[in-house]
């Protein structure tokens, strides 16, 4: 049932909350976002380098959020969440890598983006 007799504050997920971690996660997210913004707007790198850096920063942002905001770890309270998040990794891979692969070939053959 959705409702338990126990007090909401006793839930392990709720107990795991911590202000310093939240603040840190927020600062991290802001920092990474500003950095990627700067790279895109004023950075003067090759396209590949720009994309690579944005990718790396996105990865840092994701991991930071998962750990510091969502508290995903292997404790008993969180293991389901962690496993579900991990289970999406192959899907992430399928969707993004195959898409990039497809567009790479498409671009070569139909000069997509040339116009």
């Amino acid at each position: 049932m959705a409702h338990h007799d126990q007090h909401p504050l006793d839930h392990p997920e709720v107990q795991a909350s911590s202000t310093p971690k939240y603040v840190f996660a927020f600062i991290l997210a802001m920092g990474v976002m500003i950095a990627s913004c700067l790279i895109t707007v004023v950075g003067d790198m090759s396209q590949l380098a720009t994309l690579t850096w944005i990718g790396v920063l996105a990865l840092i942002a994701v991991i930071g959020q998962l750990y510091f905001l969502f508290k995903l770890d292997t404790s008993k309270a969180m293991i389901w969440h962690t496993v579900s998040a991990a289970a999406t990794i192959p899907l992430f891979f399928i969707a993004i890598v195959l898409t990039i692969w497809m567009f790479h070939h498409l671009e070569m053959r139909v000069m997509l983006g040339a116009g």
Binding site: M1, I94, W101, F103, L106
Partner: protein
Amino acid sequence: MFMDVQGPSNALFGRLPMILDLHYNNPWIMFAFALVVIGGIGTVAALTYFKKWGWLWHDWLTTVDHKKIGIMYIIVGLIMLFRGFFEAAMIRTHQAMAVGPDSPGFLGAVHGYLTPFHISEIFTVHGTLMILLAVTPILVGFMNLIVPIQIGARDMAYPFLNAVGLWLTTAAAALCMISLFVGSFSHAGWVGLTPLTQLDHSPGVGVDYWIWLIQISSIGSTLGALNLIATILKMRAPGMSLMRMPIFSWTTLATNIIGLTSFPLLTVALFLLTLDRYIGTHFFTADGGGNFMMYTNLFWLWGHPEVYFVVLPAFGFLSEIIPTFSEKPLFNHTSMIAATMGIAGVSWLVWLHHFFIMGAGPEVNTFFSVATMLVGIPTGVKVFNWAFTMYKGRVRLETPMLWALGAVLLLIGGGMTGMMLAIPAINYVSHNSVFVVAHFHNMFLIIAFAIFGAVTYWWPKAFGFRLDERLGHIFFWLFWAGSVFVFVPMYALGFLGMTRRLDYIAHPSWWPLLALEVVGIALYIASVAAFVLQIYVSFRDRERNKVTTSDAWETSRSLEWAAHCPPSFYNFAATPIVHSNDEWAWRREHGVTSVVPEKYTSIHMPKNSMVPVVLGVLFIIFGFAGTWRIGWMFFGSIIAITAVLIFRMFQKDIDYNIPAEDVEAYEREKLKSVDRAAQDNVHQTGEMGDAGTDSPAHG
């Protein structure tokens, strides 16, 4: 920041002033409007006359009972399904009339009776609503209705969330109905062909209706998926290990894993399209750095998993119906589970077969072609399992079994043509022809057959009486004949090169085949009439058709048949203990079929809530305001939705306990309609696949 839109608009009413000067008048719309108004007034009058408003509100609209929610999902879906049949009839009759340069035109059309814009709207709304507002809700309804009982749970893991999902779906259906009368619907196909969906090319509100109703219904589907997964993983009765779980529950699990992982993709793709249309970004535009092929890519990344989302539950129905009416256990339960999960797994790897012709080249096309054909392996496993279940079984051709057999037969045609289309060389000549349309209707018909089978099969469980057999057979044969007459000619026309979505047919030689399709659609409409009549007659004779034991078919196998017909609102008076994957058959075999528990205990249940209905209404306002760009109303509804959710979070009084005495009193009342002697004697041996099958039950 917001895009300039064509036509009149102002801050107070958004684009609504448009309907004053732009209106496409068509008697068909007036007819539909009259139908809805008369139906609406009739319902309101009946509810008032019979003083049923309180009943409707307390027993249905505010309920969080999974069974009632499931039934309401199915009703919404069936209503939309029948609306879809009418659209199909319009498309078919129009095309049969608009053949050749000399064909006459009516009602403002040059040929036939629908203008090109109007027929485009009709096939778009037909596709969108059939998939998202008819088939999906009906299937989700069955998952709601059956799965908790089948796994021995009291309700879903999150009953409140479940009601929210229902009302979101209903809100989307309501928007679809509103779009019929206020403004217009998208003309860009159910897939949303880009860049046709961009503001430059579709300046009206049609595409916006399409976007918002899909967004609202897919939030509902995502929440529902979450709920069903949690229910199945966490709420199974003691003894029901995952490997003992009946196949329908397994397919529900697989389906919802697909749903949970794919619906958010559609949400994102449509959100980006919304940004393009509302604030002028260039995600999917043809110019300004946009990439409209990315839209197609994202759409099918959801779209293909979605087709497995709808077919897997249908396979689940078949896997329940076939063993019951073959009086044998399902052949190889374990491989059925593996095949289900196999199909779900592959569903993610094949989406590109929807745009082989985009031009990604041989490497890419080969990869996706092979991946697509791999689906044939687990599907084949399923077909053989069903066939071996029937082999040497005592097959009874009652209505549900007829539907199931029809579905298995259709799978041959649909699967075969799917394989053909999965070969890029064939696809290059058949893509965008009506051959594809015939293929996927063939596939969806499997689902429709399985659904009607499931309706007949579980009807006694849900309502306590059986549906009329004779009318059921008539319904089946009419529907079957309709399918043959519509889709065999359509396959042929596909081979002849007829492209899809035509408003005018240039080849007079195609007319005979198109006329045959009209015969088919007439049979479909007749079949719908037979169905309505079947329900009416069965309801009228409900006393005679009453089921007096928990096992309406006498040879059913899974746990839901151990609950009353209809089940008590808390499902089982005492939590069942599960011994086998065919628990009810196991109990029959061991002579423990009594529905009276050894002792009564108190039961913890969720309380009704009006919050989900309120959210549904707010979501209609939200979608409507979004469509017509009424800023204050749009943001106002978001604030209101948030406020209602916060209000709900602070509600403490959301559950209650039914004391043991009340459970006992309630059960005693229920037991009055049970034939106790028959119930205790539904006893058969040898059904669990043991040697020496000597059951005298059915000769």
